[in-house]
């Protein structure tokens, strides 16, 4: 049973063929050792790895690496992801309806907004240092400012299993953090343009604004959150068998698919340098730690602090890639997708969640 982390390690290792894997590992280990929370993170990681959903993720990754023909239809994947968003939206809304509006909630929202807007800036600088051009750096930085819904969902499951359920309003924070990073990314790219280095496509501004505000996943998260808040705990019971009881099982099937998707994305990657691989691990660690610090500073409960760390540490693969394809077509998806989806996403699922949680617990202690 303890061979599982090893298995995924080998599998992932098998992928960045010609890349310097030691470099990547070095980054990971170096970061891993920082702080006193290593042991707790290890325990958390072991517990995480015995979570059936995570094991399905690992199974999907293995299947992709042995080039199995296992495949889940895109329509089913999309359907499952919509279900997950509706479900966490509803549950968050019901929780807020029960707890009422609190000052914490607005503080967390403001913090999330600020993180999404600002985190791309240091990421941009680091990515430039790692050798990316202006446009690629800006597009990739936007991914790291935004968030991954599935990382949050998986993190919530893990936290709840440890008695650290994050507050219901964290779903609203998730929705708030989805898109501001897109604006930051575009501003960074435009600043670059004005220096004559890159050109952004002439995407009409109203197109971009719709992309940002009427984004499907934001609408579904916010809408379900509102519905949950309207109907409250009592009326939720009638739909709870689907949206609550079934949640963990469905998450297993979805993470099986995400394992396939993430590993295949990594296999196709030809443009990743060791430095970029390192950053795809370092950025989550740094951003996640910042998220935990901020959450602690504004006085959230331990579960919510960990959740804010998970959000800050996660990288978007839904709202941002499509927006970048539209507005920054010169940015190469062969860079930002393997980094966010192929490396940072699995890193967060397998290690990151445990690390940010351990850090949050340490601050709480």
């Amino acid at each position: 049973m303890h061979s599982c982390p090893h298995t995924i390690g080998c599998a992932v290792g098998g992928a960045h063929n010609s890349m310097n894997i030691f470099n990547a590992l070095w980054f990971a280990i170096a970061e891993f050792k920082i702080g006193l929370y290593v042991r707790r993170a290890m325990t958390n990681a072991a517990a995480t790895l015995l979570n059936p959903a995570i094991l399905f993720f690992v199974l999907g990754a293995i299947a992709a690496f042995v080039r199995s023909d296992l495949a889940i239809p895109e329509a089913v994947t999309k359907g499952l992801s919509l279900y997950l968003m509706a479900s966490i939206g509803l549950k968050g809304g019901v929780a807020v309806a029960t707890a009422g509006l609190t000052g914490e909630m607005f503080a967390a929202g403001a913090a999330g907004l600020a993180l999404s807007l600002l985190l791309p800036v240091p990421a941009f600088v680091a990515l430039r240092r790692a050798g990316l051009g202006m446009t690629d750096a800006a597009a990739t930085a936007a991914h790291y400012g935004s968030v991954s819904v599935v990382t949050f969902v998986t993190g919530s499951e893990v936290l709840t299993g440890q008695g650290l359920a994050p507050a219901g309003y964290m779903v609203a924070v998730l929705a708030l953090m989805e898109t501001p990073a897109i604006i930051s990314g575009l501003l960074l790219a435009r600043r670059a343009t004005s220096h004559g280095i890159a050109t952004t496509a002439h995407t009409p501004t109203h197109e971009m604004l719709r992309e940002v505000f009427a984004n499907g996943s934001v609408m579904l998260l916010v809408g379900s959150f509102a519905i949950g808040a309207i109907i409250g705990k009592d009326k939720f019971t009638s739909i709870a068998p689907v949206f609550d009881t079934g949640f963990k099982g469905i998450l297993c099937l979805f993470l099986l698919d995400m394992g396939l998707v993430a590993a295949r994305r990594l296999q196709g990657a030809r443009l990743l340098t060791p430095a970029l691989v390192g950053l795809a691990i370092a950025l989550p660690l740094v951003n996640g730690s910042i998220g935990v610090l901020v959450g602690h500073a504004i006085g959230l409960d331990t579960g919510s602090v960990a959740a804010l760390g998970i959000l800050a540490g996660s990288a978007s693969y839904i709202a941002v890639p499509a927006a970048m394809r539209l507005a920054l077509p010169q940015a190469d998806p062969g860079i930002y997708l393997p980094m966010s989806l192929g490396i940072s996403f699995p890193f967060n699922i397998i290690f990151g969640i445990a690390i940010y949680t351990a850090l949050a617990e340490r601050f709480a202690a």
Partner: protein, 100 residues
């Protein structure tokens, strides 16, 4: 029978709205969109991708009169350049071409 042009463009899903807007501009009111399963584009493999939407591509296809074809190409040229799209034109015979 008469002849017409058939135009095809393989377009990234996030750009689809801009292509159909260009069709509107050019007065092209007949087109069909076909799904793709994936493919390769130089170094990058892309695939049907309903999840992120970023690497999904759609085949925009239309059959139209020669003058409309020129108008469509003109309306699309900025997008072809900025987003590096490929547009193909062929000539086809049309049965019931009264509409052209």
């Amino acid at each position: 029978m008469s002849t017409a042009r058939r135009i095809e463009i393989l377009v990234d899903r996030p750009l689809l709205r801009r292509v159909t807007a260009a069709a509107d501009t050019a007065g092209v009111t007949n087109y069909a969109l076909l799904p793709t399963l994936g493919g390769r584009d130089g170094a990058d493999a892309w695939s049907q991708d309903q999840l992120t939407g970023a690497t999904d591509r759609i085949l925009f296809t239309t059959v139209l009169a020669a003058d409309k074809a020129d108008a469509l190409v003109a309306a699309l040229t900025p997008l072809l350049d900025s987003h590096d799209l490929l547009l193909t034109i062929s000539t086809v015979e049309v049965v019931r071409g009264g509409r052209f």
